[in-house]
């Protein structure tokens, strides 16, 4: 933006400096000024065009096309079915689909179990990293390591940890348990396992975001607070948290959207890879259910309806989220 302004300031002088030397005709001059106006008015659009162009191709078009597909009974095994229209029948079926309800419950459940501890943990870690520590840069980079590790690699390790027969966790729990826990068999245990993967992956990322925000808080605030006799905890609660409010809103919304679209972790946690999310859908999330209906069952129309429903749910949840989080300490502002 600033470079753009610089151009605008410099160019008239440039023009006037050239004119006596070249002595151009009035027509040429008009042409030049027209070009100049076009540059001024048009080039900003050109600069943002790549984004909106790509968005139209990879964002808007799929969105609209998915909506169109969701009104058809399209299945690749039935030639011609993509041209039939069944209105909103897919959405109607979806409302009564127990497996979809189950997937929604799983998504919200895993979302809560993973997002809340993850953000609290990130806040705590960021607070600790904000102290003067030895090897601070190393530690700060260190928390990002799980984030740059691919989910597939994380899943590989966590599948070993949460394995029933020769798993690490069951080995630790052995003295306290009569039978090893079959982590994939129950809802609660599989949610815990999947959530732990998500927490592992994203906590460091959120911690760094919090840390960056914490460093913008003026030191004077803490100084005067400590002169007034505020404890570390009081400083954290009354200065850090309110100052982080916009950042917390951002991370809550981004994490919630991420949680609603959770796919890779539950997909990889079911080692049969049949996208069923456990033998009886114990941890099948909405996107995993979508994937199963689309790929395994070849129900393109139905899967498209799931996609759109999920999109609407996400928008609603994000709004609710925004309204709720905005209330954090807002009374004092």
């Amino acid at each position: 933006m600033s470079t753009d302004l610089d151009h605008r300031g410099a160019s008239p002088e440039e023009e006037s400096r050239r004119r006596p030397a070249g002595a151009p005709s009035p027509r040429r001059q008009r042409w030049r000024s027209r070009l100049y106006r076009l540059d001024l008015k048009g080039s900003p659009y050109l600069y943002i065009f790549p984004f909106f162009g790509l968005f139209a191709v990879f964002g808007l078009f799929p969105l609209v096309y998915t909506a169109v597909i969701s009104t058809t009974p399209w299945s690749p095994r039935q030639p011609g079915s993509q041209d039939e229209s069944i209105g909103l029948e897919n959405y109607q079926n979806l409302l009564g689909d127990e497996n979809f309800h189950n997937a929604l419950i799983n998504t919200f459940g895993i979302g809560l179990v993973s997002t809340v501890p993850q953000l609290l943990l990130a806040l705590g870690i960021a607070h600790l990293l904000n102290y003067k520590l030895r090897g601070r840069l190393f530690l700060r980079m260190g928390v990002l390591v799980p984030y740059i590790t691919s989910v597939a690699a994380v899943a590989l390790i966590f599948n070993q940890i949460f394995a029933r027969d020769f798993g690490l966790l069951n080995w630790f729990l052995q003295p306290f348990m009569e039978n090893p826990i079959d982590w994939r068999a129950e809802k609660w245990s599989s949610w815990l396992a999947v959530s732990s993967m998500v927490i592992w992956h994203w906590t460091g990322y959120n911690a760094l975001i919090y840390l960056a925000a914490m460093q913008t808080i003026p030191y004077e605030l803490y100084e005067s607070a400590s002169i007034d006799g505020a404890s570390r905890w009081q400083q954290f609660w009354y200065i850090t948290i309110p100052s982080l409010r916009p950042t917390i809103i951002f991370t809550v919304i981004v994490s919630t959207i991420g949680a609603l679209q959770l796919f890779a972790e539950p997909f990889l946690f079911d080692t049969t890879r049949n996208s069923n999310g456990g033998s009886e859908r114990q941890f099948q999330t909405v996107v995993l259910y979508l994937y199963q209906q689309f790929w395994t069952n070849g129900r393109y129309g139905y899967a498209a309806a799931i996609a759109w429903t999920l999109f609407l749910v996400t928008v609603v949840i994000a709004l609710v989220n925004f309204l709720l989080v905005r209330r954090i300490r807002s009374a004092e502002d």
């Binding site: 299945s75 027969d165 020769f166 049949n274 069923n276 033998s279 069952n297």
Partner: protein, 424 residues
């Protein structure tokens, strides 16, 4: 100056857009060709052994073969998606027998082998019909292997449980599947730490391997819910689970692979291709395995077809490779190195096959056991989603293994099957 910058920018964007739309050019038949082949298991190679591809590459200097492996579900899903999209398939694609009827409705997407100078008489009629359009005009794939059925068992674990280890005597233990489960009771009583079999889903597949009509009838209707044979196979499998015989290892998962190495189970339903899995998963158990006949005496599970999607750039070279890979000589080689049993009946009597014994399996006469199991096997009927339905049952039985009520699991499986296959 400003203008030229604008022009340059436009040119760059145009170039970037143009780069997105590059197309494939027609390949020169004698030039360097890379043929890709997508498989879902040990179809033509083992993870550490690609002898067959190497041999073909030696015979054809200009050809390089690249194999991509994925699991059976993903493999067929990707194939369908890429056929629908019109691009992205490999030059050769393997299709499992339980999925092939889902693809014969799209014959224009595959090279028709009826027009490629192939002697289809080397296979049985039912084998060819499964990969042909109803009128027989189009054949979308060439048969590779056939399953056959047997039971592979661990002689050391049998010995520890006080059971006979000789394959004749072991075969005599289970004339029927009920006897197999009854023997399992004795086994788990003697050695409670080792289970009788890997997963109930494999017992279920073994039982249904001897049925002509399972999930679909000859008209192509979904009959799974009312088919008594399916229900009986389910009940027998559930009985075995409830008697504590299952190691409850989800099929083809990493835990299942580990189960072979750790000796977590003593028997496994063993189509010929399973020999490849056992050898690849647990090379250290060589000599501890043997092969007995299947309860019921006959049956088949699995088998595949090799197809050439017509969207490929090198269909001509791909057809040549497909014909070579499915020829009797290569099928015999595959049987001896991997275990996949040749689909051509003519090969079964050849000494190379008939006299073949596997060292890994205590010199069991595999070359006699598998053809014998196929002799009386019915010509099974498959529908478009047979494999998916089989996977659904395997998952449902796995949920019973995890403690779900069998009737609830059955009902859930029926709902899932209707969702997966109900729409045709």
């Amino acid at each position: 100056m400003r203008t030229s910058r604008l022009v340059a920018l436009t040119a760059v964007s145009a170039l970037a857009l143009a780069a997105c739309g590059g197309g494939d050019e027609a390949a020169d038949p004698n030039g360097e060709i890379t043929l890709t082949i997508n498989v879902f298991g040990d179809n033509f190679s083992l993870p550490d052994n690609r002898e067959l591809y190497d041999e073909y590459e030696r015979m054809h200097d200009n050809i390089t073969i690249v194999e991509n492996r994925s699991d059976i579900g993903t493999h067929h899903q990707n194939l369908q998606a890429r056929l629908t999209a019109g691009s992205g398939t490999a030059d050769l694609e393997v299709i499992e027998v339980g999925q092939v009827s889902g693809f014969i409705g799209q014959p224009d997407k595959f090279v028709n082998f009826n027009e490629q100078d192939v002697d289809t008489a080397q296979w049985t009629d039912s084998t060819i019909q499964r990969a042909s359009t109803p009128d027989g005009s189009s054949l979308i794939g060439l048969p590779t292997d056939i399953g056959g059925l047997a039971i592979c068992y661990r002689t050391d674990l049998f010995e520890a449980a006080g059971l006979p280890t000789d394959r004749e005597a072991v075969s005599a233990l289970w004339p029927t599947w009920e006897d197999y489960v009854a023997t399992g009771d004795k086994f788990v009583e003697a050695t409670p730490d080792v289970k009788w079999f890997d997963a109930a889903g494999h017992v279920f597949s073994g039982i249904l391997g001897n049925e002509e009509e399972t999930y679909y009838n000859a008209e192509g209707d979904l009959v799974v819910e009312d088919n008594q044979a399916v229900r009986e196979a389910w009940d027998t499998s559930v009985q075995a689970i409830q008697n504590g015989q299952s190691a409850a290892l989800p099929e083809f998962s990493p835990e299942w692979n580990t189960g072979f190495q750790q000796g977590q189970f003593a028997t496994i339903t063993c189509p010929a291709w399973m020999m490849g899995y056992i050898q690849a998963n647990a090379a250290d158990t060589a000599g501890k395995w043997d092969i007995a006949t299947i309860p019921g005496g006959s049956g088949n599970w699995g088998g595949s077809y090799l197809s050439v999607p017509s969207q490929g750039a090198n269909t001509e070279a791909a057809v040549e490779l497909a014909k070579w890979l499915t020829a009797p000589e290569q099928n015999i080689k595959l049987f001896k190195t991997i275990g996949n049993f040749p689909s051509q009946t003519s090969t079964w009597t050849e000494p190379e096959v008939a006299n073949y014994t596997s060292e890994f399996f205590s010199n069991a006469p595999a070359g006699k056991i598998f053809p014998a199991s196929l002799e009386d096997a019915p010509a099974q009927i498959y529908g478009p989603q047979s494999t998916v339905i089989g996977t659904t049952f395997a998952g449902a039985l796995n949920s019973v293994e995890q403690g779900t009520d069998p009737d609830e699991a059955w009902d859930a499986a029926m709902t899932d099957i209707k969702a997966a296959a109900g729409e045709g």
